[in-house]
């Protein structure tokens, strides 16, 4: 009797010990015990189950939006593409929209800061034009509210393309081969600033990120991304707090935040009264779709690697009154950092199948 009770107690102790080791000790997402003090909830640390409602927030839309004042048509997009690649829309005849929004660089330029006709470095990094159809505020500081409005800004900016809009229209009018393209796109309206800008806007609306592995996973293909990437998606939404601003299928909230970078550029603060403290040093959240893995990063191109970017968010940015309340210092384990990067890589889709136009 005593002996059997001893064995029962021994068995109980063994079960208890195994249970504690398996369930309580900090474990890496791979299931091995680690010495890190970072312990996440079981759902994030052990499993890679992702709630459907969370995935649904990242589902791609079915159609490209366009405004009633300039509905998207293939003819407008074709004209817009021709204009987009035409360097004659710049003062020197040497810089086109595509010079900075180069398809080979994910429709950016891969530079820390853009360069235009004067060769003077621009104050900010060139953003991609991918998925611009969905933007509700354009440019890093949101000074344009429509693609049609935005299209005029680089053409006329002194250090970008440096051409008066009237001069751009006159040049296009003088190129005979443009007339049939304009007639097809805007019958009876001719070459005018409105049609030129409307066509450029229309072409940019067609530049939609191709389906990435992430999209396939969101649509239910569990094999489309790695387990590490799935864990990284949870880090992105939970411990990393990235989704506080990089939300929606485009991984941006189209909103403005001071993320605490050292810079004299006050961004959207230029367009807000000084009393709106929160807009000082605020810049638009960039999309993470098809971002260049090799950088550079941030509105000023000040960071060269993803590691540097994650370090910045771990630190929480420069503390000042305008710092976004969404910016809170975080701590990620080495495993979580690696998982996060694995996830971000799943946002890279194939290049768009855009054929270079023959310029008239």
């Amino acid at each position: 009797m005593t002996e059997s009770r001893f064995f029962i107690l021994l068995a109980f102790a063994i079960v208890l010990t195994i249970g504690v080791a398996a369930g309580v000790a900090p474990r890496s997402p791979h299931g091995t015990t680690v010495s890190s003090v970072i312990v996440r909830p079981v759902s994030a640390a052990v499993g890679v189950h992702v709630p459907d409602e969370l995935k649904a927030k990242y589902r791609r839309p079915d159609a490209i939006p366009s405004p009633p004042s300039n509905p998207l048509t293939p003819e407008k997009a074709e004209l817009g593409k021709t204009l987009f690649f035409d360097p004659r829309l710049s003062r020197t005849g040497s810089v086109s929209c595509a010079s900075c929004h180069n398809p080979g660089f994910e429709w950016g330029d891969g530079l820390k800061r853009g360069l235009g006709v004067t060769g003077v470095p621009l104050p900010r990094r060139t953003p991609t034009v991918l998925n611009a159809a969905w933007l509700s505020a354009l440019m890093w500081d949101g000074r344009a509210t429509t693609l049609e409005q935005q299209a005029a800004l680089p053409i006329t900016a002194e250090h970008e393309m440096g051409l008066e809009l009237e001069e751009a229209v006159a040049r296009v009018k003088d190129i005979a081969g443009y007339a049939p393209l304009f007639e097809a796109a805007y019958p009876g309206e001719g070459v005018r600033a409105e049609t030129l800008l409307g066509a450029l806007a229309s072409f940019q609306r067609t530049l939609v990120s191709a389906e990435a592995p992430f999209d396939k996973w969101i649509d239910g293909d569990e094999t489309a991304i790695s387990e590490a990437a799935k864990r990284g998606f949870l880090v992105f939404n939970e411990a990393g707090r990235c989704s506080k601003c990089h939300s929606s299928w485009r991984l941006t909230d189209d909103s403005f935040h001071d993320i605490g970078l050292e810079s004299g550029d006050i961004g959207r603060g230029q367009f807000a009264p000084p009393s709106v403290v929160i807009m000082q040093h605020a810049f638009k959240t960039p999309t993470l779709r098809d971002f260049r893995l090799s950088g550079p990063y941030m509105h000023d191109g000040s960071m060269a690697s993803l590691d540097e970017v994650i370090d910045h968010y771990e630190d929480g940015g420069k503390k000042r009154p305008s710092l976004s309340p969404e910016m809170k210092a975080i701590t990620l384990s080495a495993q979580e950092r690696a998982d996060l990067v694995a996830y971000l890589k799943t946002l890279q889709g194939p290049s768009l199948d855009v054929r270079m136009p023959r310029l008239p």
Partner: protein, 118 residues
């Protein structure tokens, strides 16, 4: 004799309290959900007070632009925080958020004189 009168007055005050705590005709509450403002219902008039109740999980900074171009800034509003503004100018007005430009709500502020049937 004084005690019953005092008690009666107290009772009246207590009975009136629930009524005065309700929003009167000149008070409105608009709830902020995520990146959306509840539709602004009912007539709004100059001097009415509008309370914006941030029930989203993000910080907002609303401002109202009046027909004359002047702006009232409601300042930063963290989740759970309420901000109020007294409507100053009659005419169409727009409520927007500095942080999230997608938030936009249009309203018409009526003049107080309209109350008198003018």
């Amino acid at each position: 004799m004084r005690l019953p009168i005092a008690a009666f007055v107290m009772a009246m005050v207590v009975m009136a309290l629930p009524l005065s705590s309700k929003a009167s005709a000149g008070e409105h509450v608009v709830v902020l959900h995520h990146m959306e403002l509840d539709r602004i219902e009912g007539e709004m008039r100059v001097d009415d007070v509008v309370t914006f109740d941030n029930r989203s999980d993000m910080t907002h900074n609303l401002y109202i632009t009046y027909a004359d171009g002047t702006v009232d800034n409601l300042d930063t509003q963290t989740p759970g925080m309420k901000r109020t503004v007294k409507l100053r100018v009659a005419g169409p007005a727009v409520v927007r958020c500095w942080i999230h430009p997608i938030i936009k709500s249009e309203l018409v502020v009526l003049d107080r004189e309209d109350d008198a049937g003018k």
